[in-house]
Structure formats: structure tokens, C-alpha cells
């Protein structure tokens, strides 16, 4: 096999593309620009860390099935960890989101990074909601019977039945977490490719700018 033939392979082309866009020093950087020096940057990594704890505690709950935590003190404690990690996750994500808005973090070709972040937030809201309606307790009874009217009014309730415990549980533990994790991974890859957005240049003369084409 000739080297040119190897270079034409899809695998080789993909590897070159990944190496070009995201070399190891960008994926796992050991330096940051000096302007990356604020508490606001903590909330991005806090969101990811909370997501890790949410998934880990959710996996423990999954081990013994959806009814286990109602009758076990240990199970209830794991549920408490799951709940509070979700609360921390959303708190961190909302602060992160508004921090990024204040920085206009979409500048310099980072619009897709912003958009994947917003979609991740919306997917996370849906994931949490399906968790609340699949708890199989009074909260899930009340929240599902109230929420059905909003979703039914859009027509979506015909296919996304919040009163169907099995359907909501599947969305909560498979489909939506998968979406949230994939979106988060994509978001992080985009952050690593583009880097952290630089401060606004208050001097009107801008040289060597990252001009979005």
C-alpha cells in the first residue's frame, strides 16, 4: 500500500483533522492567558463536576431499581445526594451562563460554543423535569398531572406522556442524560478548540483581531 493511498483513507484524514483542530496541548493545556483570572471561571468546572456527581449518584440509584430508595435509608441518602448535586449543577450552570453573557463569550467565532451551552441548559431542564415526574411519590403525581396540560396544549403530549412512568423514566435515565453528556462534551471540545474569549478591546484600534468570517 502506498503512502498516498494511506493519506486518502477516511481514518487518516479524520486523524489529521482532529490533530489540526485539537492538538494535545489545546485539549489539555498547561497555560492560560493572564486574563483568565476571576471567580466566574470556577462555575464552568463546577457545573461539570456537579454533573459527574449527578451521574454517579444516578447510577447508584439505578443499581437497585426505581422503587429501592423509598424503602431504604441508604437509598434515600443516595437520592438526597442526587437531588443536591442537581441543585448545585443548575446553580453553577446558571451563574456560568450569565457570566458568559456578561463576557459576550460568543465573540471570535465562538457562537457555536454559546449555542451548545444553551442547548445543554435546555436539555438539562428537561432531564431534571423527567426526574421529578418519575420519582413515584406525591411530588411526581402532582407535578405530572399539572405539567401534562402545558405539554398537551402544544400537541407534544400526544407523544411525550408525562403520566407514563415508564416512558418518563427511560427519558430520564437514558435519552436525556445521553443528550446532556454528548452536548457537554461537544461544548468542552469547542471551548478547548477556540480557547477562552479575550476581554473587550476598549482601544478602538484593533490589530490582529479574530474576525469571524
Amino acid at each position: 500500500m502506498s503512502s498516498s493511498e494511506i493519506e486518502r483513507q477516511w481514518t487518516t484524514r479524520l486523524r489529521h483533522r482532529v490533530e489540526g483542530k485539537l492538538p494535545p496541548e489545546k485539549m489539555l493545556p498547561d497555560t492560560q492567558p493572564n486574563y483568565v483570572s476571576s471567580w466566574i471561571y470556577v462555575f464552568g468546572v463546577a457545573t461539570m463536576s456537579a454533573l459527574f456527581v449527578v451521574i454517579a449518584t444516578g447510577c447508584i440509584l439505578a443499581l437497585r431499581g426505581p422503587q429501592w430508595w423509598h424503602g431504604s435509608a441508604y437509598g434515600h441518602f443516595i437520592n438526597s445526594l442526587h437531588l443536591w448535586s442537581v441543585e448545585i449543577f443548575f446553580f453553577s450552570m446558571v451563574v456560568h451562563l450569565w457570566g458568559k453573557f456578561a463576557m459576550a463569550a460568543w465573540r471570535g467565532g465562538r457562537a457555536l460554543t454559546w449555542m451548545t451551552g444553551v442547548i445543554t441548559f435546555l436539555a438539562s431542564v428537561a432531564t431534571a423535569f423527567t426526574g421529578y415526574v418519575s420519582q413515584s411519590n406525591f411530588d411526581s403525581q402532582w407535578i405530572s398531572t399539572q405539567a401534562k396540560d402545558g405539554i398537551n396544549a402544544t400537541g407534544a403530549g400526544a407523544y411525550f406522556n408525562v403520566l407514563n412512568l415508564g416512558q418518563m423514566l427511560m427519558w430520564h435515565i437514558v435519552l436525556l442524560p445521553l443528550a446532556a453528556v454528548v452536548l457537554t462534551a461537544l461544548h468542552i471540545v469547542l471551548v478547548r478548540i477556540k480557547g477562552v474569549v479575550p476581554p473587550f478591546e476598549e482601544n478602538p484600534v484593533v490589530e490582529n483581531a479574530e474576525v469571524t468570517q
Binding site: V53, S80, A104, W142, T145, N152, A158, P198
Partner: protein, 313 residues
């Protein structure tokens, strides 16, 4: 080839300043440890709510007359479910977003016949009930106008709960008093819970019918009111006990508290429509002139990058 003009709300200046050491793996590890400890502390101190689910058995034992009245509404077509429209039935057009009848267009995808599914079929499933079977046969053979006359008569009668029986002070309601009383007995025994859940067979995870029946009662909203969960109490974002709940739904819940949504018959679809538009706006901020300039004009970024601006000024 012309060079595109620099737009401060779209483009970013290229960083020509210095760099400092940054250990991303160490930062990530410390962050996970800190979040884990914080989660443990919150879980140990506050725990989590788990108010037991109510059943039709608990409802009918706690409030037998409310149950009997709800059963009558299922039978005469005036309950929320019976009059709902899509996706359960064709009893109404449903909510409209201007000229758009979204639910009606999608149609009946989760068929629920309130009278048949909640009353008639469960009663028919009871074994060895010759009197009830006869009354059900009388009901089935009657014309619609006769059924309506019976139901109207029952609705006007004084209904009481005496010695474990639902008694209606009327002689012109045909088989309705027996049907309502027998359904109440069935509910109080727990058999109706099973009959509604196992409608699709032995294995099921679909609680649509018992939840719709429960939601038609006065009992469920009464409990929710006590737990500060109703719509006018910002209920969608709350949960039982003093827990933060889904506080991230505050904006969604907020619209229900103010006109015109608060009083509109189409509140749900209007709020959903508005939230979809607002979500799209948030998603597309980078492309919306004016809105994408807000951060630059607000100058909150000066707080975030204060060290950078102190060094450059």
C-alpha cells in the same frame, strides 16, 4: 479581497499578552472533590423529600363523597378528563395559540373514555355481582336521553356516606346509585387501583388513567394546596417540604402569576409559546444585533476582567 470590519460584539481581539501556568487536571480533580463534599454536607443536613404517593384507595377512604362525585362527573362527561379534548378524546377543541389548534391537529393519541375506562369497565371486571351486573345491563340498554335523566336526577339528589355506603336520596336515578356505590366500594378496597393500572395487561409502567382520575378530584388539589404546590403558589417549581425544587423553572412559572396568562383559557399554550420564543432568543443572542451589544454596554465584564484592565490602564 476586502477585509471584514471589526465588530466588537462579534469579533474578539487576538490576545498578545502573557500566559500563566494552568493545571487543568488538578483543577478538575479539586473541583470534583469540593462539589462532592458540598453535596454530602447538603444531603446530610437537609436530606430530600419523599411524600408517599396517594392511591385511589386512600382517596376514596379519606373522602368517599368526593370520590363518588368525581365518579359521577366521569359518567356524565363533566370531569376535566371527560371534557379534555386531545390527546385523550374529542370532547373539546383544546387550547389555541391564535389560530393554531395544535393539540387538536395532533389528534387523539392516548384514548381515554372517562365513563367507560374509569367507571363501566372496572365495574364489569368485578366477579359474582348479579345485582350490579343487572344494573350495568340496564345502563347499557338505556338511551342517551334516559342516561342523562338518571345522571341529572342523581346530581340533584342529596348524597351521603352512611355505614360505609354512598347513599343518594332519589328514586329516579335508575342504576346510577348502585353503580356509584359499587365503584366507591371497589375503590375503598384497592381493587380500582389495580383495575386502572392493569388495563393493558399484567406488566405495565403506564399510570395515565389512575393519575387522570385522581387529578379530576378535589382531594388531590387539596393536598397540593396544603403543600404549597398549586399554580398560584408557584407550584410547578416547588416540591413538598422546604426544598428548592425546580427553581430554574421560575420564569416559566412566573408567567402564570400575571395577566393575561393568569386569566386566559389558553394560558398553557401561550406560556409555552412565549418560553419557546425566549429560549430561541437566548440561543441566538450572538446573531441578534442590539441584544448582542448589551454585555459591552453593561460593562459588567470590567468586574470579571478587572485585573486585566487595571494592568492595561
Amino acid at each position: 479581497m476586502t477585509k471584514k470590519a471589526f465588530n466588537p460584539d462579534v469579533d474578539a481581539p487576538k490576545w498578545k499578552g502573557g500566559y500563566h501556568p494552568y493545571d487543568i487536571v488538578k483543577e478538575g480533580s479539586i473541583a470534583i472533590a469540593v462539589i462532592l463534599v458540598l453535596t454530602l454536607v447538603l444531603a446530610i443536613v437537609f436530606g430530600s423529600p419523599d411524600e408517599k404517593a396517594i392511591t385511589i384507595k386512600t382517596w376514596s377512604n379519606a373522602a368517599p363523597l368526593d370520590f363518588a362525585n368525581t365518579a359521577l362527573e366521569e359518567l356524565n362527561g363533566t370531569s376535566t378528563t371527560a371534557a379534555y379534548g386531545a390527546p385523550y378524546n374529542t370532547a373539546s377543541t383544546g387550547q389555541q395559540l391564535g389560530p393554531l389548534q395544535l393539540a387538536k391537529w395532533v389528534g387523539v393519541r392516548i384514548p381515554v373514555n372517562a365513563a367507560k375506562d374509569f367507571v363501566i369497565s372496572p365495574l364489569k371486571s368485578l366477579p359474582d355481582q348479579p345485582t350490579l351486573d343487572h344494573q350495568l345491563a340496564v345502563w347499557s340498554a338505556a338511551s342517551s336521553s334516559t342516561k342523562n335523566a338518571w345522571l341529572t336526577s342523581y346530581g340533584k339528589a342529596k348524597v351521603s356516606f352512611v355505614n360505609g355506603q354512598v347513599v343518594a336520596n332519589t328514586t329516579s336515578a335508575g342504576p346510577v346509585p348502585v353503580m356509584i356505590n359499587q365503584l366507591t366500594q371497589m375503590a375503598r378496597s384497592g381493587a380500582l387501583d389495580q383495575a386502572l393500572v392493569t388495563g393493558h395487561g399484567f406488566y405495565t409502567t403506564d399510570y395515565t388513567k389512575p393519575l387522570l382520575f385522581l387529578a379530576d378530584s378535589e382531594y388531590l388539589p387539596g393536598l397540593a394546596q396544603h403543600q404549597h404546590l398549586t399554580g398560584d403558589q408557584w407550584g410547578m417549581m416547588n416540591e413538598t417540604g422546604n426544598y428548592p425544587g425546580q427553581s430554574w423553572l421560575w420564569l416559566y412559572t412566573f408567567w402564570y402569576q400575571i395577566p393575561p396568562f393568569k386569566t386566559s383559557a389558553n394560558a398553557d399554550v401561550l406560556v409555552w409559546g412565549l418560553m419557546m420564543v425566549l429560549s430561541a432568543v437566548l440561543l441566538l443572542v450572538p446573531f441578534i444585533p442590539g441584544l448582542r451589544s448589551v454585555p459591552r454596554k453593561l460593562k459588567l465584564y470590567r468586574l470579571i476582567w478587572r485585573e486585566h484592565y487595571q494592568e492595561t490602564e
